[in-house]
Amino acid sequence: MALILNEEQQSLKDIARDFLEKNAPITHFREIRDTANETGYSQELWKEMSELGWAGILVSEDYGGFDFGMMGMGGILEETGKTLTPSPLFSTAVLGASLLEMAGDDTQKSNYLPRLVSGELTTAFALEEGSHHNPTNITTSAKKDRDNFVINGKKTFVIDGHSADLIIVAARTKGDEDDPNGISLFCVDSNNKNLKVIKQSMVDSRNCAEIELKNVTVSKNDLLGDLHNAYSVIENVLDVARVAIAAEMLGNSSKAFEITLDYLKERKQFGVLIGSFQALKHRAAEMYSEIELTKSAVVSAMNAIDEKSNDTARLSSLCKFKACETSHLVSNESVQMHGGVGVTDEYDVGLFLKRSRVAEQVFGNADYHVDRYATLSEY
């Protein structure tokens, strides 16, 4: 198992870092936030990212993509975690691309993927219905009506749901709540009149939506993948997405830690640098250890996805778990170690705290993945 990036992957990551530091540093995020930008990200920036090929990293070459794998995508996401860059990278290039790649038929792929790769088309995945991640808890219903499906229900915590062009909706076509069988996926145009989209203003100033579907009618050609049997695709896509968000969280933790180390090396109290206080040093060293463990868990999960390992599910849960634990710890410690200025909006460290808690909830928090890992390990 490769636990380090190869030369190509490393080079992609280096380019991403340089690009983001130059074009989308934290001041860019603040500007988007403070101007209450409607899409929640810069469309111009997304265009540039797409030109760099980032939207197509997980898309196969047949549909204009680069098939570069998670070892490539993860490195970029880690860098966006450091700069807190808002963009549809996760919702579109990870979630949308994976859903369409894994579930779509040739017509659907040809229709959507090239436009997704070029940055023209953005997507969102309308999955969650409750306050906690639960991919079998689907009550949104899709009823067959001759050549159409009529969808009714309510989705929440839909990342980029208010700005996406294409909404991919998980709906129940048979069975009861919590039954993994009977779930299907549908492509819904965001212009559909029967969609009621409420932008949710989140604590991390990113972009989510609540989406109500009232008799939303789609053609049977908009069914994405097999009728009733979307759950295994959903789980596979979720595993990719969990690793992706974990990579971003790793970047988030690393950067918050770096900022804090810098502060410890420059702030004086009682006539000495606060970084010389042993209690803070030990806590810093503990954070370092956790970050190292998280790094290993993330890279091994990225590798597992690329190698289609049959242990991908466990490694994906492992890396989301470690990413949650570490980013929880590091974000809290970073604020505390900054003292008074840490709780001001002027300093960046609070932004990492806010992003951390939202990312923790995306597709399962630490507890969820501990439970899942144990279940997958048969205990």
Binding site: H133, F270, G339, G340, V343, N365
Partner: protein
Amino acid sequence: MTDLQTFREETRNWLEANCPPEMRKPGDVCWGGRNPQFSHPDQEIWLERMGDKGWTCPTWPSEYGGGGLSKEENKILQEEMSAIGARSPLGSFGIWMLGPALLEFATEEQKKEHLPGIVKGKYWWCQGYSEPGSGSDLASLSTKAIEDGDNYVINGQKIWTSYADRADKIFCLVRTGPQEPKHDGISFLLIDMDQPGVTTRPITLISGKSPFCETFFDDATAPKKDLVGGLNKGWTVAKRLLEHERTMISNMGLAGGGDGSGSKKMSGLAKVSKQYVGEDADKKIANPSLRSKVAKHEMNSRAFGLTLQRIGEETKVGAPSPAAAMSKYYGTEHNKLRYELLLEAMGSKALGWEGEGFTPEELAITRDWLRTKANSIEGGTSEVQLNVISKRVLGLPD
């Protein structure tokens, strides 16, 4: 009928006659000042009536405008006010912080000048302690007050001055002596904010807008007679005030956390958990791992509440006990954890910032969660408290 029974009856009758109807409902408390803002006309009436009786500061001596009540009488007053839901007539750092310090350290003349104004809410006081360069190391403060005839001329910057943008006056620690030994060159000075040499700038916290400000002194002046506690003796006053502040903040650790009593009714955290993650057939919180964390937290809430109570019984006096550092440390860390658990219990519903898609209660939790992060920093960081415990309580060497 004992004197206390008589007092209770008279108090009840007075409150019945004088507490306006609107002031018997929950709502905001006014802070007085030169340009007081009243959200309802009854607020002004209530403040005036209570101020005249000195019951804004019930236990202060009546010669300074206070109520002159004994501890027992004050307890009765609080009980009777609580019985009719009477709102507090006045919020004020003058009452909570400056007043007790003046009573202990000021000259007779200073008491006569400043205390009655606090009782009646005539001036809005704020506190000027911390500076950008002196956080935990408060005594390294560098705001200077230089003698100039009958005045001091003040230059420097304070931070974390709550409501400085609305306050009329500030009680302030300033350097009047040499830098070293640093504790011995500090004085406690009262400064009027309404002068050109004083400007303020509000601080936005991670939780949003805040009452905190930065306050800048640029050749501001204060009369020499407003120096309290003696030249270069301000550190004594400051230490006492900090102790009061720590006790105030450590009690926040119990706010809303645990029922602290023998009652079986579910506390907030458990109730919220059931609401957001559901309950199983045995009425247990459906997520066993969350249930266990919630229960542990509630148990620690209770043990902490019992500890505050025990410390109270042990000391039975007003002076802060050595365990106060422990309460500040534990109470604030515990409160931070409580909010982290609320976030965990509420999932994505506790992550809203404003606007649609969340209830007002949910949005409040998010903001409060962010606000708790300051608990373990303000009024002495957790690290400072641990230093204090290990040195003063445990006697560990420097």
